[in-house]
Assembly symmetry: C2
Amino acid sequence: MTSFFFECLGQDGAARTGLLHTGRGVIRTPAFMPVGTAGTVKAMLPESVKETGADILLGNTYHLMLRPGAERVAALGGLHRFMNWPHPILTDSGGFQVMSLSGLRKVTEDAVTFQSHIDGSTHVLSPERSMAIQDLLGSDIQMVLDECTPYPATQEVAQSSMALSMRWALRSKRAFRAVQGRGLFGIVQGSTFADLREQSAERLMEIGFDGYAVGGLAVGEGQEAMFETLDVTVPHLPQDRPRYLMGVGKPDDLVGAVARGIDMFDCVIPTRSGRNGQAFLKTGTLNLRNARHADANEPIDPNCRCPACRSYTRAYLHHLIKAEEILGAMLLTWHNLTVYQDLMADLRAAISGQGLAAFVHDFHAKRDANRD
Amino acid sequence: MTSFFFECLGQDGAARTGLLHTGRGVIRTPAFMPVGTAGTVKAMLPESVKETGADILLGNTYHLMLRPGAERVAALGGLHRFMNWPHPILTDSGGFQVMSLSGLRKVTEDAVTFQSHIDGSTHVLSPERSMAIQDLLGSDIQMVLDECTPYPATQEVAQSSMALSMRWALRSKRAFRAVQGRGLFGIVQGSTFADLREQSAERLMEIGFDGYAVGGLAVGEGQEAMFETLDVTVPHLPQDRPRYLMGVGKPDDLVGAVARGIDMFDCVIPTRSGRNGQAFLKTGTLNLRNARHADANEPIDPNCRCPACRSYTRAYLHHLIKAEEILGAMLLTWHNLTVYQDLMADLRAAISGQGLAAFVHDFHAKRDANRD
């Protein structure tokens, strides 16, 4: 079994490209992780997800603990086997979705108690339980349980929330069952306060993790504040470990964050917006619900390698979306994930070739010309 | 361009196996046609439909005329290109779904006027318009417009409805634009009355069609009455033309109808029930919503060649269905269409080998042992 480590292959400014080695395979970075919420990347066969270029998926601890249940998944051979994805999986801690999806919640020093959004049943999630669940799922990259600080927050609230997350990070590290080839990531919190972000990063490095995530962003602060927070956070993270910006984002968020030294991303945007009829272009988007596509006898992008672009017109995709046909969700999800993976491949190539600044400039120029 | 003709390769009792040659390809009979209602077999890529073993799809004139519209499909290159299915397509006339789906209807000698179930707009469907629409779609097998007689009907109502259908059949034949490689099928009506069915078949043969369908069945009369009607209808149809039982059915309906000389079928059962969590076994069914599958670490059928059975457990499929995940609909549709196509292949082989009686006996014995 390969051990878990990050191999940096090239740098261009703050941006890096490399390989994250795990026991279940190598992840090319910068990497975008499609979200497989409930044991499936919605509307996609896993072999199709792989075909788009994904090296790793994200699974949601919150969803999987509630349904089908972590012990059940373990008894069925683990999440990889359950969902037929033999490649790496990162699981979040469940904390973020407890806050955003569940009913009545109570956060104490010990744990968070919440009600399932599915059936109202009461559950408890502690750092130890989150680690146990992620271990039962068989996750390759596990995340510490943290409290995602609401935005906006006063410095006082952000400080106290961050401090709780740091105590939970230590408990998570202690509860993590280290298995060869698997890694545990800490999560920097501290809202948009530079000093808190620095303190959080320092504390996590004292504890020591296989990778470092930046959490508590993409929660309404806007792209500018997000980038500013990365600017004051990333320099405090170690060079030899992967950096993961959680829950981000749109293509221009990814481009800006990669330029600031981020290596990994996850986001529901390409999958969710695909199901809603929005197609990403290399730069810009297309709303296929729009009646102006009804007679458009051309693909979304003639240069795209995905099945939606190889074999179908915008008119057909418009029809599928209007008729609420499942095939519309299937094809647009496939397309959007392809666009995202191709963007990551382009970013990796640009960094390798010391051409990131030119790539970013070109990306913004084209994006501004292609708004739908 | 190949001309349109039926080549009988073998007979076993009343059952036949053969090849229906069309300009867009050969259809192995007995054939099951998956239903691609609105220009898509729901939850399936067309290449996956082909992989299940389907040689031909059915498209619904009613749905396609309302959305996206026949003229639009024609301008986009026809239905085959629109939906990326280069193989044969049979279109129905629209008549049946006007009766079952649309709002306020008025049937006159000339045409049926109805309101769209989508937006309430008023439309007129005459034999001539139905033929024009099917021609615009580019359909390989076109169906005459008929009135599907409601069940039950008095002999008087059934007689008058059948007579109208026969006058419409003649008008359809006259309006049909004959293109090399395409065929037009007549539809026998007459409810469950043997004399009316015979009269209808005789009248259609006088007009002359490339194939003959049996309509007005599977509308609540039950399997026994359906088979009795086939017994008094099929012997009046010509040996050298394909026979199509419309809207049928469950596997045991197909087996019984093939034994009575039917060559072609279409039905939404495998696709619709797949979306609802029902999986067909070689004989019998499995309701994957049932909690008893939650921990079942085995495929639906270890001998099935479909992706759902090759790579997933019943427990996973149960989870997908409970969580209303699109992948559940995708996998179960694929499975059910595979089971249907494999049944047709088995029937063709049984007829070729003069072993249909043994096959039917075995099928019923196993089915009775496998009810869920």
